[in-house]
């Protein structure tokens, strides 16, 4: 399926979950300090493994960086 991952068009396997998107973004799903939004809504970490992705979604995988 095609979706947007951190602003880039990406192709992920059908049936892929949020965890797969976190890995595809270059993050380690087990590491702390990461948050995921799909179409602007937070997906809690506890649901990454069970939440399937869908065609056309906007997935953002975020982490803490220097700022403020």
């Amino acid at each position: 399926m095609k979706l947007s991952l951190n602003g880039e068009p990406r192709e992920l396997d059908d049936g892929a979950t949020v965890s797969a998107a976190v890995e595809a973004a270059g993050a380690e799903p087990a590491a702390g300090g990461i948050a995921v939004a799909i179409d602007g809504e937070v997906v809690p970490r506890s649901q990454w493994g069970q939440t399937p992705l869908r065609e056309g979604q906007q997935v953002e995988v975020l982490q803490a960086v220097q700022g403020g």
Partner: protein, 263 residues
Amino acid sequence: MSEPKPPFELAGRALDSRLILGTGGFRNLSVLAEAAAASGARVATVALRRVDPSARGSIADVLREGGLELLPNTAGCYTARDAVATARLAREALESDWVKLEVIGDDRTLLPDASELLEAAATLVGEGFAVLPYTNDDPVLARRLEDVGCAAVMPLGSPIGSGMGICNPYNIRLIVEQASVPVILDAGVGTASDAALAMELGCDAVLLASAVSRAEDPPAMARAMRLAIESGRLAFEAGRIPRRLYGEPSTPSEGVPELHSRP
């Protein structure tokens, strides 16, 4: 010496430093770690951005190893909607319920958007966040932010990163006088005397980033800020003398000898 004062308390956390370190602008994480240690800060702000697979090291690890707690911000948000979404993501990422709420209204001055800020603050307080809003130095807006339940108010001294110091100390004083939550001077500090002035005006703490991170020697400036904030606070608590137009001798005027015979 008077009794030791209770520590500074912010959003239910007792802190032994009144300096909150912003982490933007440091050349790298090791300079940040060194400056953070020299500053004595117990809290440091972080932003949330897209994962960068090429990034080396984790700022969260560096700060936590240094004994600092992370305060996420909503930097880069221009609407209440974006700021609220960012705060929710930060809560998920960092597993903490506090947020430095920043809603910018103008990309040149980086001044806050008052109406979006107030709306976002009310929403986030309703969702259980401890909201620390970066606000204009407007006493009325500060009161409105306190009324909707913010855990502190954080007026700017001058625009973010400008280094112009405290442009309107009278407004900061008014905000301090009326507030029943901590007042944290946030933005505009350029050098140590600016931070000392904030504390002398009665602010509870100072949040600064660029003044340290972009200084020629960030760890040295971090130490300067630490000392300035400590001495400014001491001066505030000690109670300064009033300003007078004319001189007031500190030496007694009685008992002055006559040393020459009168003509």
